[in-house]
Protein backbone atom coordinates (compact mmCIF):
# COMPACT_ATOMS: atom_id res chain seq x y z
CA UNK A 1 0.00 0.00 0.00
CA UNK A 2 2.91 2.32 0.47
CA UNK A 3 3.06 3.54 -3.18
CA UNK A 4 -0.61 4.51 -2.91
CA UNK A 5 -0.05 6.50 0.30
CA UNK A 6 2.86 8.35 -1.23
CA UNK A 7 0.82 9.10 -4.24
CA UNK A 8 -2.07 10.44 -2.15
CA UNK A 9 0.29 12.59 -0.16
CA UNK A 10 1.84 13.93 -3.34
CA UNK A 11 -1.50 14.80 -4.88
CA UNK A 12 -2.83 16.50 -1.74
CA UNK A 13 -1.82 20.14 -2.55
CA UNK A 14 -3.29 19.80 -6.04
CA UNK A 15 -6.37 18.20 -4.60
CA UNK A 16 -7.01 21.08 -2.21
CA UNK A 17 -6.31 23.56 -5.01
CA UNK A 18 -8.71 21.76 -7.36
CA UNK A 19 -11.43 21.60 -4.71
CA UNK A 20 -11.30 25.32 -4.02
CA UNK A 21 -10.98 26.30 -7.68
CA UNK A 22 -7.36 27.40 -7.62
CA UNK A 23 -5.64 24.59 -9.49
CA UNK A 24 -3.96 24.91 -12.87
CA UNK A 25 -5.58 22.89 -15.71
CA UNK A 26 -2.70 20.41 -15.55
CA UNK A 27 -3.20 19.93 -11.82
CA UNK A 28 -6.93 19.42 -12.34
CA UNK A 29 -6.17 16.61 -14.79
CA UNK A 30 -3.74 15.03 -12.33
CA UNK A 31 -6.33 15.20 -9.54
CA UNK A 32 -9.09 13.79 -11.74
CA UNK A 33 -6.85 10.95 -12.70
CA UNK A 34 -5.98 10.21 -9.11
CA UNK A 35 -9.46 10.37 -7.59
CA UNK A 36 -10.80 8.20 -10.38
CA UNK A 37 -9.04 5.29 -8.77
CA UNK A 38 -8.85 6.52 -5.18
CA UNK A 39 -12.12 6.62 -3.29
CA UNK A 40 -10.75 8.18 -0.04
CA UNK A 41 -9.20 11.08 -1.95
CA UNK A 42 -12.44 11.61 -3.86
CA UNK A 43 -14.23 11.91 -0.51
CA UNK A 44 -11.53 14.20 0.73
CA UNK A 45 -11.97 16.41 -2.30
CA UNK A 46 -15.72 16.51 -1.80
CA UNK A 47 -15.20 17.61 1.78
CA UNK A 48 -12.97 20.44 0.66
CA UNK A 49 -15.55 21.37 -1.94
CA UNK A 50 -18.25 21.55 0.72
CA UNK A 51 -16.04 23.74 2.87
CA UNK A 52 -15.41 26.00 -0.11
CA UNK A 53 -19.16 26.28 -0.69
CA UNK A 54 -19.75 27.30 2.91
CA UNK A 55 -16.92 29.80 2.64
CA UNK A 56 -18.49 31.16 -0.53
CA UNK A 57 -21.60 31.70 1.52
CA UNK A 58 -19.62 34.02 3.80
CA UNK A 59 -18.79 36.14 0.78
CA UNK A 60 -22.44 36.61 -0.06
CA UNK A 61 -23.62 37.30 3.46
CA UNK A 62 -24.81 40.86 4.12
CA UNK A 63 -22.62 42.64 6.62
CA UNK A 64 -24.82 44.68 8.91
CA UNK A 65 -25.52 47.50 6.46
CA UNK A 66 -27.19 49.77 9.04
CA UNK A 67 -24.18 49.89 11.29
CA UNK A 68 -21.87 50.30 8.32
CA UNK A 69 -23.85 53.35 7.21
CA UNK A 70 -23.61 54.87 10.67
CA UNK A 71 -19.88 54.20 10.70
CA UNK A 72 -19.51 55.79 7.27
CA UNK A 73 -21.40 58.89 8.41
CA UNK A 74 -19.13 59.19 11.41
CA UNK A 75 -16.08 58.72 9.23
CA UNK A 76 -17.23 61.39 6.78
CA UNK A 77 -17.59 63.80 9.66
CA UNK A 78 -14.09 63.03 10.92
CA UNK A 79 -12.67 63.33 7.44
CA UNK A 80 -14.27 66.74 6.94
CA UNK A 81 -12.79 67.81 10.26
CA UNK A 82 -9.37 66.50 9.23
CA UNK A 83 -9.62 68.30 5.89
CA UNK A 84 -10.27 71.56 7.71
CA UNK A 85 -7.13 71.12 9.80
CA UNK A 86 -4.94 69.75 7.05
CA UNK A 87 -2.41 71.51 4.90
CA UNK A 88 -0.03 70.02 2.39
CA UNK A 89 3.49 71.31 2.57
CA UNK A 90 6.81 70.93 0.88
CA UNK A 91 10.19 72.55 1.21
CA UNK A 92 11.47 73.94 -2.08
CA UNK A 93 14.84 75.36 -2.94
CA UNK A 94 15.07 78.95 -4.11
CA UNK A 95 17.67 81.65 -4.64
CA UNK A 96 16.67 82.90 -1.17
CA UNK A 97 17.38 79.52 0.43
CA UNK A 98 14.97 76.72 1.31
CA UNK A 99 11.36 77.91 1.30
CA UNK A 100 8.47 75.98 2.75
CA UNK A 101 5.15 76.40 0.98
CA UNK A 102 1.97 75.08 2.58
CA UNK A 103 -1.55 75.17 1.23
CA UNK A 104 -5.01 74.19 2.39
CA UNK A 105 -8.19 73.65 0.42
CA UNK A 106 -8.73 77.42 0.60
CA UNK A 107 -5.36 78.64 -0.55
CA UNK A 108 -1.74 79.18 0.35
CA UNK A 109 -1.34 79.16 4.13
CA UNK A 110 2.35 79.62 4.64
CA UNK A 111 5.52 80.71 2.89
CA UNK A 112 8.41 80.31 5.27
CA UNK A 113 12.11 80.91 4.90
CA UNK A 114 13.90 77.97 6.48
CA UNK A 115 17.44 77.75 7.73
CA UNK A 116 17.79 74.24 6.34
CA UNK A 117 15.87 71.98 3.97
CA UNK A 118 14.89 69.51 6.67
CA UNK A 119 11.29 69.42 5.59
CA UNK A 120 7.95 70.53 6.93
CA UNK A 121 8.97 69.37 10.40
CA UNK A 122 11.42 72.28 10.48
CA UNK A 123 8.60 74.80 10.29
CA UNK A 124 8.12 76.87 13.42
CA UNK A 125 4.93 78.33 12.06
CA UNK A 126 3.12 75.01 11.66
CA UNK A 127 3.98 73.70 15.09
CA UNK A 128 1.42 73.54 17.86
CA UNK A 129 -1.42 75.09 15.89
CA UNK A 130 -3.62 72.03 15.58
CA UNK A 131 -2.60 71.87 11.94
CA UNK A 132 -2.04 68.50 10.35
CA UNK A 133 0.71 68.57 7.75
CA UNK A 134 0.19 66.12 4.93
CA UNK A 135 2.60 64.92 2.34
CA UNK A 136 2.48 67.18 -0.68
CA UNK A 137 1.39 65.49 -3.87
CA UNK A 138 2.42 68.41 -6.07
CA UNK A 139 -0.17 70.92 -4.84
CA UNK A 140 2.44 73.56 -3.99
CA UNK A 141 4.58 73.10 -7.08
CA UNK A 142 2.89 75.82 -9.13
CA UNK A 143 3.51 78.31 -6.34
CA UNK A 144 7.16 77.38 -6.14
CA UNK A 145 7.45 77.79 -9.88
CA UNK A 146 5.89 81.24 -9.70
CA UNK A 147 8.19 82.30 -6.88
CA UNK A 148 11.17 81.29 -9.01
CA UNK A 149 9.80 83.36 -11.90
CA UNK A 150 9.16 86.25 -9.53
CA UNK A 151 12.68 86.13 -8.14
CA UNK A 152 14.07 85.97 -11.66
CA UNK A 153 12.20 89.18 -12.49
CA UNK A 154 9.98 87.39 -15.00
CA UNK A 155 6.79 87.86 -13.01
CA UNK A 156 5.45 90.83 -11.07
CA UNK A 157 2.20 89.38 -9.76
CA UNK A 158 1.45 86.40 -7.57
CA UNK A 159 -2.31 86.06 -7.89
CA UNK A 160 -2.66 83.22 -5.40
CA UNK A 161 -5.67 82.20 -3.37
CA UNK A 162 -4.65 82.96 0.20
CA UNK A 163 -5.71 81.36 3.46
CA UNK A 164 -4.99 83.63 6.43
CA UNK A 165 -5.58 80.96 9.06
CA UNK A 166 -2.13 81.49 10.53
CA UNK A 167 -2.92 85.12 11.33
CA UNK A 168 -2.75 85.39 15.09
CA UNK A 169 -5.64 87.87 15.34
CA UNK A 170 -8.26 89.69 13.32
CA UNK A 171 -6.01 92.72 13.44
CA UNK A 172 -3.09 90.83 11.89
CA UNK A 173 -5.38 89.38 9.27
CA UNK A 174 -6.49 92.90 8.34
CA UNK A 175 -2.89 94.14 8.17
CA UNK A 176 -2.02 91.25 5.89
CA UNK A 177 -5.00 91.92 3.65
CA UNK A 178 -4.14 95.61 3.30
CA UNK A 179 -0.48 94.77 2.65
CA UNK A 180 -1.45 92.19 0.03
CA UNK A 181 -2.87 95.04 -2.06
CA UNK A 182 0.45 96.92 -2.30
CA UNK A 183 1.53 96.89 -5.93
CA UNK A 184 4.86 95.74 -7.30
CA UNK A 185 7.52 98.42 -7.13
CA UNK A 186 5.66 100.46 -4.52
CA UNK A 187 6.93 101.32 -1.05
CA UNK A 188 4.93 102.59 1.87
CA UNK A 189 5.40 102.93 5.61
CA UNK A 190 4.01 101.15 8.65
CA UNK A 191 2.54 104.48 9.72
CA UNK A 192 0.68 104.88 6.46
CA UNK A 193 -0.78 101.38 6.70
CA UNK A 194 -1.89 102.13 10.25
CA UNK A 195 -3.66 105.26 9.02
CA UNK A 196 -5.18 103.41 6.07
CA UNK A 197 -6.67 101.01 8.58
CA UNK A 198 -8.06 103.88 10.64
CA UNK A 199 -5.66 103.06 13.50
CA UNK A 200 -3.07 105.86 13.23
CA UNK A 201 -1.51 105.06 16.59
CA UNK A 202 -1.09 101.34 15.86
CA UNK A 203 2.17 101.78 13.97
CA UNK A 204 4.14 99.36 16.15
CA UNK A 205 1.34 96.84 16.10
CA UNK A 206 1.31 96.98 12.29
CA UNK A 207 5.08 96.45 12.24
CA UNK A 208 4.74 93.50 14.61
CA UNK A 209 1.95 92.00 12.53
CA UNK A 210 4.16 92.14 9.45
CA UNK A 211 7.19 90.86 11.30
CA UNK A 212 5.20 87.66 11.78
CA UNK A 213 3.77 87.62 8.27
CA UNK A 214 3.04 83.96 7.46
CA UNK A 215 2.96 84.77 3.74
CA UNK A 216 6.09 86.75 2.84
CA UNK A 217 6.69 87.62 -0.82
CA UNK A 218 3.03 87.07 -1.78
CA UNK A 219 1.88 89.40 0.99
CA UNK A 220 4.62 91.90 0.20
CA UNK A 221 5.55 93.16 3.65
CA UNK A 222 8.99 93.93 2.20
CA UNK A 223 7.34 96.95 0.58
CA UNK A 224 6.63 98.46 3.98
CA UNK A 225 9.36 100.48 5.69
CA UNK A 226 9.82 102.71 8.72
CA UNK A 227 8.82 106.36 8.98
CA UNK A 228 12.28 107.52 7.94
CA UNK A 229 12.52 105.16 5.01
CA UNK A 230 14.69 102.74 7.00
CA UNK A 231 14.16 99.08 6.08
CA UNK A 232 13.56 98.45 9.81
CA UNK A 233 12.92 94.68 9.88
CA UNK A 234 11.99 91.61 7.90
CA UNK A 235 10.97 88.07 8.81
CA UNK A 236 12.76 88.26 12.13
CA UNK A 237 16.30 89.21 11.18
CA UNK A 238 16.38 88.79 7.43
CA UNK A 239 16.89 92.41 6.38
CA UNK A 240 19.18 91.24 3.60
CA UNK A 241 16.24 89.46 1.98
CA UNK A 242 14.09 92.57 2.25
CA UNK A 243 16.73 94.61 0.46
CA UNK A 244 17.05 91.94 -2.18
CA UNK A 245 13.31 91.81 -2.85
CA UNK A 246 13.08 95.61 -3.03
CA UNK A 247 16.07 95.85 -5.35
CA UNK A 248 14.43 93.27 -7.59
CA UNK A 249 11.51 95.68 -7.99
CA UNK A 250 13.89 98.53 -8.80
CA UNK A 251 13.57 100.30 -5.45
CA UNK A 252 16.74 102.36 -4.82
CA UNK A 253 18.37 101.61 -1.46
CA UNK A 254 21.21 103.45 0.22
CA UNK A 255 23.15 102.51 3.32
CA UNK A 256 23.92 104.84 6.15
CA UNK A 257 26.03 103.45 8.94
CA UNK A 258 24.41 100.13 9.75
CA UNK A 259 20.99 100.55 8.23
CA UNK A 260 19.64 100.47 4.72
CA UNK A 261 16.89 102.82 3.70
CA UNK A 262 14.90 103.53 0.57
CA UNK A 263 16.04 106.62 -1.31
CA UNK A 264 12.89 108.66 -1.28
CA UNK A 265 14.40 111.36 -3.49
CA UNK A 266 15.01 108.85 -6.23
CA UNK A 267 11.44 107.58 -6.38
CA UNK A 268 8.17 108.78 -7.82
CA UNK A 269 5.69 109.89 -5.21
CA UNK A 270 1.96 109.80 -4.63
CA UNK A 271 0.54 111.83 -1.78
CA UNK A 272 -2.46 110.57 0.18
CA UNK A 273 -5.02 109.26 -2.31
CA UNK A 274 -4.00 111.35 -5.26
CA UNK A 275 -4.59 109.81 -8.64
CA UNK A 276 -1.45 111.36 -10.08
CA UNK A 277 2.18 110.54 -9.41
CA UNK A 278 4.94 113.15 -9.20
CA UNK A 279 8.65 113.59 -9.12
CA UNK A 280 9.71 113.91 -5.47
CA UNK A 281 10.43 117.62 -5.79
CA UNK A 282 6.94 118.55 -6.96
CA UNK A 283 5.22 121.29 -4.89
CA UNK A 284 5.23 120.66 -1.17
CA UNK A 285 6.04 116.93 -1.50
CA UNK A 286 9.57 117.19 -0.07
CA UNK A 287 8.11 118.42 3.21
CA UNK A 288 5.46 115.74 3.61
CA UNK A 289 6.06 112.90 6.09
CA UNK A 290 6.34 109.37 4.75
CA UNK A 291 3.05 108.33 6.34
CA UNK A 292 1.27 110.44 3.74
CA UNK A 293 3.15 108.99 0.77
CA UNK A 294 3.46 105.98 -1.41
CA UNK A 295 6.69 105.71 -3.36
CA UNK A 296 7.16 104.05 -6.73
CA UNK A 297 10.34 102.62 -8.16
CA UNK A 298 9.48 103.64 -11.73
CA UNK A 299 6.92 105.43 -13.85
CA UNK A 300 5.96 102.10 -15.31
CA UNK A 301 5.14 100.74 -11.82
CA UNK A 302 3.16 103.86 -10.93
CA UNK A 303 1.21 103.78 -14.17
CA UNK A 304 0.47 100.07 -13.97
CA UNK A 305 -1.13 100.89 -10.61
CA UNK A 306 -3.56 103.16 -12.46
CA UNK A 307 -1.84 106.47 -11.71
CA UNK A 308 -1.46 109.28 -14.21
CA UNK A 309 1.55 111.59 -14.49
CA UNK A 310 1.16 114.85 -12.55
CA UNK A 311 0.16 117.70 -14.83
CA UNK A 312 2.38 120.15 -12.92
CA UNK A 313 5.74 118.40 -12.59
CA UNK A 314 5.17 116.21 -15.70
CA UNK A 315 7.19 113.12 -14.69
CA UNK A 316 6.41 111.80 -18.15
CA UNK A 317 8.44 114.62 -19.71
CA UNK A 318 11.05 114.87 -16.99
CA UNK A 319 11.60 111.37 -15.69
CA UNK A 320 13.77 110.81 -12.64
CA UNK A 321 16.48 108.85 -14.35
CA UNK A 322 17.55 111.98 -16.25
CA UNK A 323 17.60 114.08 -13.08
CA UNK A 324 19.29 111.72 -10.67
CA UNK A 325 22.11 109.31 -11.06
CA UNK A 326 22.37 106.93 -8.15
Amino acid sequence: MSPKVTSCRAIEPDLVAAAIGEASPAAVVRVQHHVHSCEPCLREMERYQSIDRVVGDLRRAPAGADRTDTALGELEYKLAELRRRAVTARVWSSPLGPILIARSDQGVVLVEYLESARGAAASRMLRGRGIEVLEDGGETEQFHQQILEYLAGERTRLAWPLDFRLAGSDFQREVLQVTAALPYGAVTSYARLAREMGRPTAVRAVAQALRHNPLPIVVPCHRVVGGTGALTGYAGNKLGLKERLLSLEGVPIAHTRREGHVVRDAMYVVADHDTQYCVPTCGSLPTLPLWRLTLFASRERAESSGLAPCTDCRPDLHPLSTQLKL
Binding site: A17, E44, Y48, R53, V55, T68, E135, G137
Partner: protein
Protein backbone atom coordinates in the same frame (compact mmCIF):
# COMPACT_ATOMS: atom_id res chain seq x y z
CA UNK B 1 -2.50 62.68 -10.97
CA UNK B 2 -5.15 60.25 -12.07
CA UNK B 3 -6.68 59.88 -8.61
CA UNK B 4 -10.39 60.30 -7.98
CA UNK B 5 -11.60 62.37 -5.02
CA UNK B 6 -10.95 60.61 -1.74
CA UNK B 7 -14.63 60.74 -0.78
CA UNK B 8 -15.40 58.63 -3.83
CA UNK B 9 -12.77 56.09 -2.80
CA UNK B 10 -14.23 56.03 0.66
CA UNK B 11 -17.79 55.41 -0.38
CA UNK B 12 -16.67 52.77 -2.87
CA UNK B 13 -14.62 50.73 -0.40
CA UNK B 14 -15.80 51.55 3.09
CA UNK B 15 -18.33 48.74 3.37
CA UNK B 16 -15.94 45.99 2.29
CA UNK B 17 -13.15 47.24 4.53
CA UNK B 18 -15.52 47.22 7.51
CA UNK B 19 -16.67 43.78 6.52
CA UNK B 20 -13.11 42.53 6.22
CA UNK B 21 -12.15 43.95 9.60
CA UNK B 22 -15.26 42.51 11.22
CA UNK B 23 -14.27 39.14 9.93
CA UNK B 24 -10.66 39.25 11.11
CA UNK B 25 -11.00 41.15 14.40
CA UNK B 26 -12.81 39.86 17.41
CA UNK B 27 -15.22 42.67 18.13
CA UNK B 28 -17.23 44.78 15.75
CA UNK B 29 -16.37 47.87 17.81
CA UNK B 30 -12.70 47.16 16.98
CA UNK B 31 -13.60 46.70 13.34
CA UNK B 32 -15.34 50.06 13.23
CA UNK B 33 -12.47 51.85 14.97
CA UNK B 34 -9.93 50.21 12.70
CA UNK B 35 -11.84 50.94 9.53
CA UNK B 36 -12.10 54.57 10.55
CA UNK B 37 -8.38 54.63 11.21
CA UNK B 38 -7.75 52.89 7.88
CA UNK B 39 -9.49 55.65 5.94
CA UNK B 40 -8.07 58.54 7.94
CA UNK B 41 -4.61 57.12 7.37
CA UNK B 42 -5.34 56.53 3.73
CA UNK B 43 -6.53 60.12 3.38
CA UNK B 44 -3.26 61.41 4.82
CA UNK B 45 -1.20 59.45 2.30
CA UNK B 46 -3.64 59.48 -0.61
CA UNK B 47 -2.31 62.54 -2.42
CA UNK B 48 1.17 61.04 -2.56
CA UNK B 49 -0.13 57.81 -4.10
CA UNK B 50 0.87 57.19 -7.73
CA UNK B 51 -2.00 57.79 -10.14
CA UNK B 52 -1.98 54.18 -11.34
CA UNK B 53 -1.94 52.64 -7.86
CA UNK B 54 -4.38 49.85 -7.03
CA UNK B 55 -6.34 51.76 -4.41
CA UNK B 56 -8.44 48.80 -3.28
CA UNK B 57 -5.42 46.59 -2.59
CA UNK B 58 -3.72 49.53 -0.90
CA UNK B 59 -6.68 50.04 1.44
CA UNK B 60 -6.75 46.34 2.35
CA UNK B 61 -3.03 46.54 3.08
CA UNK B 62 -3.52 49.51 5.43
CA UNK B 63 -6.43 47.75 7.14
CA UNK B 64 -4.38 44.55 7.51
CA UNK B 65 -1.46 46.42 9.03
CA UNK B 66 -3.71 48.17 11.50
CA UNK B 67 -5.47 44.97 12.41
CA UNK B 68 -2.20 43.15 13.02
CA UNK B 69 -0.73 46.02 15.04
CA UNK B 70 -3.92 46.20 17.04
CA UNK B 71 -3.65 42.51 17.72
CA UNK B 72 -0.06 42.87 18.84
CA UNK B 73 -0.88 45.64 21.27
CA UNK B 74 -3.88 43.70 22.49
CA UNK B 75 -1.56 40.80 23.14
CA UNK B 76 0.75 43.08 25.00
CA UNK B 77 -2.13 44.00 27.21
CA UNK B 78 -2.61 40.27 27.74
CA UNK B 79 -6.23 40.68 26.81
CA UNK B 80 -6.30 38.93 23.47
CA UNK B 81 -6.71 35.48 24.89
CA UNK B 82 -9.77 36.38 26.92
CA UNK B 83 -11.30 38.21 24.01
CA UNK B 84 -10.80 35.21 21.75
CA UNK B 85 -12.43 32.97 24.27
CA UNK B 86 -15.39 35.22 24.85
CA UNK B 87 -16.03 35.81 21.23
CA UNK B 88 -19.32 34.58 19.96
CA UNK B 89 -19.92 35.63 16.40
CA UNK B 90 -21.04 38.93 17.75
CA UNK B 91 -21.83 40.51 14.43
CA UNK B 92 -23.65 37.66 12.78
CA UNK B 93 -26.97 38.26 14.42
CA UNK B 94 -26.81 42.01 14.03
CA UNK B 95 -28.15 42.46 10.56
CA UNK B 96 -31.83 42.30 9.71
CA UNK B 97 -31.20 38.86 8.27
CA UNK B 98 -30.95 37.55 11.85
CA UNK B 99 -29.31 34.45 13.17
CA UNK B 100 -31.71 32.08 11.46
CA UNK B 101 -30.00 32.38 8.11
CA UNK B 102 -26.71 31.20 9.49
CA UNK B 103 -26.78 27.48 9.49
CA UNK B 104 -24.72 25.26 11.68
CA UNK B 105 -22.14 24.39 9.08
CA UNK B 106 -21.36 27.97 8.52
CA UNK B 107 -21.14 28.70 12.20
CA UNK B 108 -18.71 25.82 12.53
CA UNK B 109 -16.55 27.08 9.70
CA UNK B 110 -16.57 30.57 11.13
CA UNK B 111 -15.51 29.28 14.48
CA UNK B 112 -12.51 27.62 12.91
CA UNK B 113 -11.66 30.78 10.99
CA UNK B 114 -11.76 32.73 14.23
CA UNK B 115 -9.29 30.35 15.76
CA UNK B 116 -6.74 30.66 12.95
CA UNK B 117 -3.51 32.57 13.55
CA UNK B 118 -3.91 36.22 12.51
CA UNK B 119 -1.86 35.99 9.35
CA UNK B 120 -3.64 32.90 8.14
CA UNK B 121 -7.01 34.38 9.00
CA UNK B 122 -6.23 37.59 7.12
CA UNK B 123 -4.91 35.70 4.09
CA UNK B 124 -7.93 33.43 4.10
CA UNK B 125 -10.49 36.22 4.36
CA UNK B 126 -8.72 38.41 1.80
CA UNK B 127 -8.68 35.53 -0.65
CA UNK B 128 -11.94 33.76 -0.06
CA UNK B 129 -14.23 36.59 1.01
CA UNK B 130 -12.73 39.56 -0.82
CA UNK B 131 -11.15 37.62 -3.69
CA UNK B 132 -7.90 39.55 -3.77
CA UNK B 133 -5.11 38.19 -5.97
CA UNK B 134 -2.27 36.52 -4.05
CA UNK B 135 0.13 39.25 -5.12
CA UNK B 136 -2.00 41.84 -3.31
CA UNK B 137 -2.46 39.62 -0.28
CA UNK B 138 1.29 39.18 -0.19
CA UNK B 139 1.76 42.97 -0.06
CA UNK B 140 -0.76 43.24 2.75
CA UNK B 141 0.98 40.57 4.77
CA UNK B 142 4.50 41.52 3.81
CA UNK B 143 5.30 38.06 2.49
CA UNK B 144 5.63 36.33 -0.88
CA UNK B 145 2.65 35.39 -3.03
CA UNK B 146 3.61 31.74 -2.47
CA UNK B 147 3.42 32.03 1.27
CA UNK B 148 0.15 33.96 1.02
CA UNK B 149 -1.19 31.00 -0.91
CA UNK B 150 0.29 28.58 1.60
CA UNK B 151 -1.53 30.46 4.39
CA UNK B 152 -4.85 30.06 2.61
CA UNK B 153 -4.30 26.36 1.94
CA UNK B 154 -3.21 25.81 5.49
CA UNK B 155 -6.38 27.48 6.68
CA UNK B 156 -8.45 25.12 4.54
CA UNK B 157 -6.61 22.13 5.95
CA UNK B 158 -7.26 23.34 9.48
CA UNK B 159 -10.95 23.75 8.80
CA UNK B 160 -11.03 20.32 7.29
CA UNK B 161 -9.16 18.81 10.20
CA UNK B 162 -11.16 20.57 12.90
CA UNK B 163 -14.50 19.70 11.41
CA UNK B 164 -13.49 16.07 10.92
CA UNK B 165 -16.58 13.98 10.29
CA UNK B 166 -18.93 16.84 11.19
CA UNK B 167 -18.34 18.24 7.77
CA UNK B 168 -21.20 20.01 6.12
CA UNK B 169 -22.98 17.92 3.57
CA UNK B 170 -22.59 18.68 -0.09
CA UNK B 171 -26.06 20.24 -0.25
CA UNK B 172 -25.13 23.15 1.97
CA UNK B 173 -25.64 26.36 0.11
CA UNK B 174 -26.73 29.92 0.57
Amino acid sequence: MGLEPFEAVMSAHHAEIVRYLRRVTFRSADAEDLSQETFLRAFRAYRALPGDANVRAWLFAIATNLFRNNLRSAKRRRAAHDVVKSRGREHDGEGPEGAALFNEARAAVEQVIDGLPAKQRAAFVLRKVHELPYEDIAKSLDCSADSARAHVFQAFRKIRKTLGDQLPSAEVSA
